[in-house]
């Protein structure tokens, strides 16, 4: 990426452009040393040494290398080598939260999974939560405290910081603690102690993905500033005005779970929610909507007003003034909202309190409060105050502040006024950063007091009122870091503080009252569960007192539809950019754009029509808002509203580490303050296409449907309810002379003998209705199975190694040869997400073509892959109809070439994350999904050890465990009581055969992908049901 305004330099010589530098710059390669120069060795020496070396190597090869086995001196009680331990903990990154269970092996965390005991995240995870375990082993972490960029001892740092604090306090100077949202009540108590010691201190919270507008609106409407819990599972009609609530808005994991519940259909629950989305970019939430309408970011307020007026007319309330827009489906949405009042919900993504007040008014009329919106259970994920932060920046620039402690935050990068903050840090008497990584802010502060990574720390959290959780260290601190809370306590005068004791004492004071057990038992139980819930739900009802008229006029005054409009958003991979240096996230294809390792600007197909692209390459474009501009490549995005562009946040890191540095441009500076809060949209943006070509690495380019009805099957809710979709379901027939009508079911003719599955028959069901495309499963699979990361260039060469991919299909109702229709559909297509992995076919085409029997079938229904037997003919991949086999073109481990993109296999620190039960594959072999056979084997062994059968739910694949909505169900199809058997209504294929054999799914929604080739997969998909009147897009 080249930013035309920036100058890149490697050292002072380059910046100063000294003659010496210029001389070397002209010679690409340093000249080879002459024999005299190079310490006396000549060609003959080289030959001699090589000869000796060869002889030594061949001699040494006769003896096997000596391997050491080093036991503990004092083995910890509950730790057994080769047996995994699990600890309940909490993932927290800024204001993002998930209750988790950490899997450790020999004291190293290697996998993170959801904690089902949590009432907030309920066992759900996200791609970022799953990936966070690799951030623990990030090579760019701070390894020790620093003073003025030099390594220092903690005692020296403490002494100097305390001296400076006292100096400031003595002069009456101002001190600020700047942080992201702090969910931890104990941390807040520590900050209070610090403030008590230095009374001029103020605590400023901000969030990269701010929701301050909503907080403010609720304060105006109900008297208390808060963000309520949204329970989408109770909603029949969901209207979202540009809120990406499945990805980055509110309690997104919880939203995904409750939304999934409302989308679930079965024979016994034949109803589902209807979801309307009004947005500019194609968001993950929008992709899941039944009706999606395109609006411009400046129209969000106007749409809200119009919806308010439509409903107010029905409710008999006064309407407010607003411009009339012609927005598709808006009237229909209003009708249904009103019809379903009490089980309807409207959400808006706008960070403008005026828009949120209007939306509150709508929800008030619909009776959503207390049913779908729970204001008595506020969530604490976004406590950032944009106005306070802006005031802080102003004060900082004006020299009113003497000392700042940046508490685990990085505002220089992720705050729109980061550049001003960066400038002002230099003039401070005291500047401290406590982040576990230096990053853009840390490199500017004079003191770095690194905190532990969250997997190394004790802490407590209150993600939601009444729901508490703990985090406990799953590994001893790898580096010489110290809990940031302990740093604050030390600086406020405590000697050798122990934050663990602080948390434990606080919990005794806060929660122990009324418990029947002794405190240690209570504490152990909380720690074991990871969570603790109180019944502190507070007042139930709220009364709306917002001023909608004032809000409407504020909207009219603040937004003008003009020119090209910009949306700044968080995509489904790097999010707000705080974990951008995590290669698992960089190589994760974005659910919508499928771009990896690249930044981009999304442009609608119509707007892109004028741009001349060369081959598969694209052009770089410059986006200018006010006096700030960035240059990023153009990505044509179906579904993007015409006249708008979208830029994801999270790129353009400069100090994040080798993985993220230099990818894309930082979009935060383009964010402006509107009506007292950050506005992630802009009007009248200058959008210029440059002449420079660029290629974006994308794993799946946009394709239209084109008659692949066998891959994705869908129906409408009406057809599902009356059962008529069954007769339209794709039932392939093959031609044969045997039958009278020369047609037959594909399964009657087969080249394969059927298998007997006497023991287990592992199978999977994937519900296309509840899959939201969030891609947590993809990351979970990567971490569990040591899947190699290959980097941008290799992805462009189509050599990504992911075992599980999510195919994103756009669709329209236009027929295959109706080109014009298809083109129109690309403007606003329907979207289907389909997780695609090895289908473990019973009649596997790959098995029959392997010349060395490296891929074979097991008696449990698995298609097995023996890496060491594989000779790399790649016939199997060639013969796989699902294209799920991956070939190791390179040795991705211990290979300098992949050091920067695949640190998990190339650096000592990164290697700690590898799963020791799964082979790291070498060059030249084929690999693919194994149905997590290591987990199957472990589950079986545990059952055998206890002399019992395997219980259902005991063996779960990594992808199924990661799925928040439960769209992926894995289990034993031989067990009629298992969840997967019941869901699919499994029946043996040939009843007359005595032994247990291939299965058929009798659930009318179940189908196999590419049924006509009769490979009989052990993965069944459940037909997607859209809650639409007609099948058209």
């Amino acid at each position: 990426m080249k930013d035309s305004k920036k100058i890149y330099w490697k050292g002072i010589e380059q910046l100063a452009n000294s003659p010496e530098f210029v001389k070397h710059a002209h010679n690409e390669f340093a000249p080879a040393p002459t024999p005299e120069e190079a310490s006396g060795h000549n060609r003959r020496d080289f030959l001699k040494m090589m000869g000796f070396g060869m002889a030594a190597v061949s001699l040494a090869a006769c003896e096997a290398p000596i391997r050491k086995a080093i036991p503990y001196v004092n083995k910890p009680m509950d730790l057994d080598p080769s047996i995994a331990n699990y600890y309940a903990s909490s993932y927290v990154n800024g204001g993002d939260y998930a209750s988790i269970v950490v899997k450790t092996r020999e004291g190293r965390p290697i996998k993170v999974e959801g904690n089902a005991l949590s009432k907030v995240t309920r066992g759900g995870t996200s791609a970022q939560v799953e990936a966070s375990v690799l951030s623990l082993y990030d090579n760019s972490r701070s390894r020790y405290p620093k003073i003025d960029k030099k390594r220092a001892a903690w005692e020296d740092l403490d002494a100097q910081v305390i001296a400076k604090l006292n100096e400031i306090a003595g002069k009456g100077g101002q001190i600020r603690i700047v942080s992201n949202t702090i969910l931890s009540p104990s941390t807040k108590s520590v900050i209070q102690k610090f403030i008590a010691k230095y009374p001029t201190t103020q605590h400023v919270q901000y969030d990269a993905g701010s929701q301050y507008g909503m907080w403010k609106a609720n304060e105006e409407s109900f008297g208390t500033g808060m963000i309520p819990t949204y329970d989408f599972s109770k909603a029949k009609t969901i209207v979202s005005i540009a809120a990406d609530f499945l990805n980055s808005w509110g309690s997104s994991i919880e939203n995904t779970i409750t939304y999934g519940k409302s989308r679930e259909v079965s024979e016994s629950k034949k109803d589902m929610s209807r979801h309307y989305q009004f947005e500019s970019i194609m968001s993950i939430t929008g992709a899941n909507a039944d009706y999606r309408s395109q609006i411009k970011p400046s129209q969000e307020g106007a749409v809200a007003i119009q919806l308010y007026n439509l409903i107010a007319a029905k409710a008999g309330r006064a309407t407010v003034s607003g411009s009339e827009l012609n927005v598709h489906h808006l009237a229909k949405a209003a009708e249904e909202l009103w019809a379903n009042r009490g089980s309807a919900v409207v959400v808006a993504g706008s960070n403008d309190k005026a828009v949120q007040v209007i939306v509150n008014g709508i929800n008030d009329m619909l009776g959503s409060y207390g049913t779908t919106i729970l204001p008595n259970q506020p969530v604490n994920f976004r406590q950032g105050n944009d106005e306070a932060m802006a005031q802080f920046v102003t004060d900082l620039g004006g020299g009113k502040i003497a000392g700042v402690i940046f508490y685990n935050c990085n505002p220089v990068y992720d705050h729109p006024m980061g550049a001003q903050i960066g400038e002002a840090i230099k003039n401070l008497t005291l500047s401290v950063s406590t982040s576990y990584k230096e990053e853009e802010t840390g490199v500017l502060t004079s003191f770095i007091a690194p905190d532990h990574h969250y997997l190394e720390s004790w802490n407590d959290f209150e993600p939601k009122r009444g729901s508490y959780s703990l985090s406990q260290p799953a590994i001893t601190p790898i580096f010489r870091t110290r809990a940031a809370q302990e740093s604050l306590l030390t600086w406020s005068g405590e000697k050798n503080p122990d934050y663990f004791e602080v948390v434990k004492e606080n919990w005794r004071n806060w929660f122990f009252k009324g418990q029947t057990m002794d405190y240690q038992t209570f504490w152990d139980k909380c720690l074991y569960d990871g969570v603790f819930d109180t019944d502190a739900t507070g007042g139930g009802s709220v009364s709306f007192a917002g001023n909608v008229n004032a809000a409407a006029s504020a909207i009219a005054a603040n937004y003008k539809t003009a020119g090209v409009e910009l949306v700044i958003y968080q995509n489904g991979t790097v999010g707000d950019g705080s974990q951008a240096n995590n290669p698992l996230l960089q190589e994760l294809p974005d659910p919508i754009t499928k771009a990896v390792w690249d930044h981009y600007v999304t442009v609608s197909p119509k707007d892109a029509a004028g741009i001349s692209f060369e081959e598969s390459k694209t052009k770089l474009a410059t986006i200018t808002v006010g006096n700030k501009s960035i240059t990023v490549p153009v990505l044509v995005q179906p579904g993007q509203a015409q006249g708008t562009i979208g830029v994801p946040l999270g790129y353009g890191r400069t100090e994040a580490g080798k993985v993220a540095n230099g990818i894309g441009a930082n979009a935060y500076p383009l964010v402006a303050m509107v009506n007292g809060s950050l506005s992630f949209g802009a009007s009248d943006v200058k959008f210029e296409i440059t002449e420079n070509n660029y290629q974006i690495a994308q794993t799946q380019t946009h394709e239209t449907y084109m008659g692949r009805e066998t891959v994705v099957q869908e129906t409408t809710l009406a057809e599902f309810q009356d059962g008529s979709y069954v007769k339209d379901k794709y039932a392939p027939q093959i031609n044969t002379w045997k039958q009278e009508d020369h047609k037959a079911d594909p399964e009657v003719m087969t080249m394969w003998k059927n298998h007997d599955y006497n023991i287990h028959h592992w199978g999977m069901a994937i519900d296309l209705n509840t899959c939201t495309g969030c891609a947590a499963c993809v990351v979970a699979c990567n971490v569990e199975n040591n899947v190699s990361l290959v980097g941008r260039d290799e992805v462009i060469n189509r050599r990504e190694m992911h075992w599980l991919r999510i195919d994103r299909y756009y669709s329209s109702s236009a027929s295959v040869d109706d080109w014009k229709g298809l083109e129109e559909a690309a403007e606003n297509p329907e979207v289907v997400f389909q997780p695609m992995l090895c289908q473990h076919c019973n009649n596997a085409p790959c098995e029959t073509v392997c010349p060395v029997a490296a891929t074979t079938h097991s008696t449990e229904g698995l298609n097995q892959m023996a890496y060491n037997r594989c000779i790399g003919t790649r016939y199997c991949a060639n013969n796989c109809p699902y294209k799920v086999r991956r070939f190791n073109w390179f040795k991705y481990h211990d290979n300098k070439q992949f050091q920067d993109v695949n640190p998990a296999m190339n650096t000592d620190l990164g290697k700690m994350v590898l799963n020791p039960d799964v082979t790291v594959r070498s060059r030249g072999v084929m690999e693919k999904c194994s149905f997590c056979v290591q987990r199957i084997q472990l589950g079986k062994l545990n059952a055998k050890k206890e002399r019992r059968r395997v219980a259902d739910g005991e063996v779960v694949t990594a992808c199924a465990a990661a799925c928040s909505t439960g769209a992926i169900v894995f289990g034993d199809m031989n067990d009629p009581e298992s969840k997967v058997s019941k869901l699919l209504q499994i029946k043996p294929l040939y009843d007359e055969r005595k032994t247990v054999n291939d299965k058929e799914a009798m659930n009318p929604r179940a189908y196999s992908v590419l049924e006509e080739i009769n490979v009989r997969p052990n993965i069944f998909y459940l037909t997607k049901v859209r809650n639409k009147e007609e099948a058209k897009a």
């Binding site: 050491k68 080769s82 055998k944 002399r947 019992r948």
Partner: protein, 434 residues
């Protein structure tokens, strides 16, 4: 598992596989017995009477071997006193229970008998066995009583059960020897007969009128050089040498990477012969992971120190080697043992599956470990070796509900043929390679 047969060398050089099956059967039966005893134990009620039930005695034996045997014998004074007659000697059964659970507390309480005992044994403190329940201790006492009443154990060589196995196996090779001797006798007879034929032919020709030349041919002596220069002889020699050479090369190629017999020098001259052989310490006392997980685990130093807190002088090496353990413990420095059994990274092997679930004896793969001063790799550890065993070994399915359905289906299909590991997918790639 009876302690008597456990360390008897079952594996003879001549017929290993036969014995291997024997061994498996043994262990399978033994685990079954063990299990049924466990069930019995859970039902047996608590009493102060020392039981004479065989179930209690066997269960007590298990506990004794796992916990007590490191320091105590029934008939013999070791680190601690010989335990025969302890139930009469000690103040009360209750006292024994208290002492076993926490000896130092009893001593500290000033109990006279305990203090005398403590002083008598050089102030050696007995480990506190808090995990043992009252009925466990009663079972141990039952075991001690029954052992004390037994006549002195005969030396292992005279064991009837395993001795029988040895004779059987020997019988097989003797049969082979008879055939060989018979063949040699037949060959000698053939040579004698051929000699007779030659001499009678000579005599017959001598009676005929023959020319000088012909006489020379008949009477030409069979010399060494005439044999060695014959074409047939040369062909045979070349063929044999060629074949032997070829076989050596092939064998050599097959043995690449095989470390059978590998017995590296270890940082501490630890002897399994002393620990497992002489003192009959249960393998699982030190290798604690063997029933739980993939690794049997090399014992951590604190396990060594359970005994070597007291035992400072070794049988073979005096104080030097044990001193190394104490030093490692005091300096908190791990001991860097040299790994002997190196499976390739691509193969997954789990001890719990084989020892806990399968009931395989340690010796089946590790050989007569109780006779080794320096441990060597006993088995080939090749895939062929693994598969061979999976083909021949019956599944240890008794009392394990996991296998119930498989056994049922197998019976339906195969009738009385035993269910081998192979029959339930034991030869499939993904069982070991993933």
């Amino acid at each position: 598992m009876s302690s008597n047969s456990r360390f008897v060398p079952l594996v003879l050089e001549t017929d290993t596989s036969f014995n291997m099956i024997k061994n498996y059967l043994h262990s399978a039966c033994k685990s079954f017995l063990f299990l049924s005893f466990l069930v019995l134990i859970s039902f047996s009620s608590y009493s102060q009477e020392i039981s004479t039930e065989p179930a209690a005695i066997t269960a007590g034996g298990q506990i004794f071997n796992a916990n007590c045997k490191a320091c105590h014998r029934v008939q013999q004074k070791l680190v601690g006193p010989a335990l025969a007659g302890v139930e009469q000697r000690a103040p009360s059964i209750d006292w024994i229970k208290r002492f076993i659970k926490n000896s130092s507390a009893v001593i500290a309480s000033g109990d006279e008998y305990a203090v005398n005992l403590y002083n008598e044994y050089n102030k050696t403190q007995m480990t506190a066995f808090t995990s043992l329940k009252d009925e466990d201790i009663m079972n141990v006492l039952a075991y001690i009583k029954s052992e004390a009443e037994k006549p002195a154990t005969p030396p292992p060589g005279q064991q009837t059960g395993t001795g029988g196995t040895a004779t059987n196996a020997g019988g097989g090779s003797e049969y082979l020897n008879v055939i060989l001797i018979g063949m040699v006798i037949i060959l000698i007879l053939l040579v004698i007969i051929l000699g007779f034929i030659i001499s009678s032919l000579k005599r017959f020709l001598d009676q005929r009128p023959l020319s000088e030349e012909e006489k020379e041919v008949v009477h030409s002596p069979i010399t060494f050089s005439s044999i060695t220069s014959s074409r047939g002889f040369l062909f045979i020699v070349v063929f044999i040498v060629g074949a032997l050479g070829f076989k050596t090369v092939i064998n050599g190629l097959y043995s690449v990477g095989i470390q059978k017999g590998y017995a590296p020098k270890q940082p501490i001259a630890f002897s399994h012969k002393v620990h497992a052989g002489q003192y009959e310490i249960d393998c699982k006392y030190c290798h604690i992971g063997v029933m739980k997980g993939k690794s049997a685990t090399i014992p951590s130093v604190n396990i060594c120190m359970n005994c070597h807190n007291q035992i400072k002088t070794g049988t073979n090496t005096g104080e030097g080697e044990i001193g190394k353990i104490v030093r490692a413990f005091n300096e908190n420095k791990p001991i860097e043992w040299v790994r002997i059994h190196n499976l390739p990274d691509l193969a997954y092997f789990n001890h719990a599956q084989h020892v806990n679930v399968g009931g395989v004896e340690c010796q089946t793969c590790h050989g007569p470990i109780e006779e080794m001063d320096v441990v060597r790799q006993h088995s080939l550890l090749t895939m062929g070796w693994c598969i061979d065993c999976h083909r021949k070994t019956d599944v240890n399915s008794k009392g394990n509900a996991y296998y119930d359905k498989m056994v049922e289906i197998h019976k339906e299909r195969e009738g009385k043929n035993p269910m081998k590991v192979e029959d339930i997918g034991g030869l499939e790639c993904s069982k070991c390679h993933y």
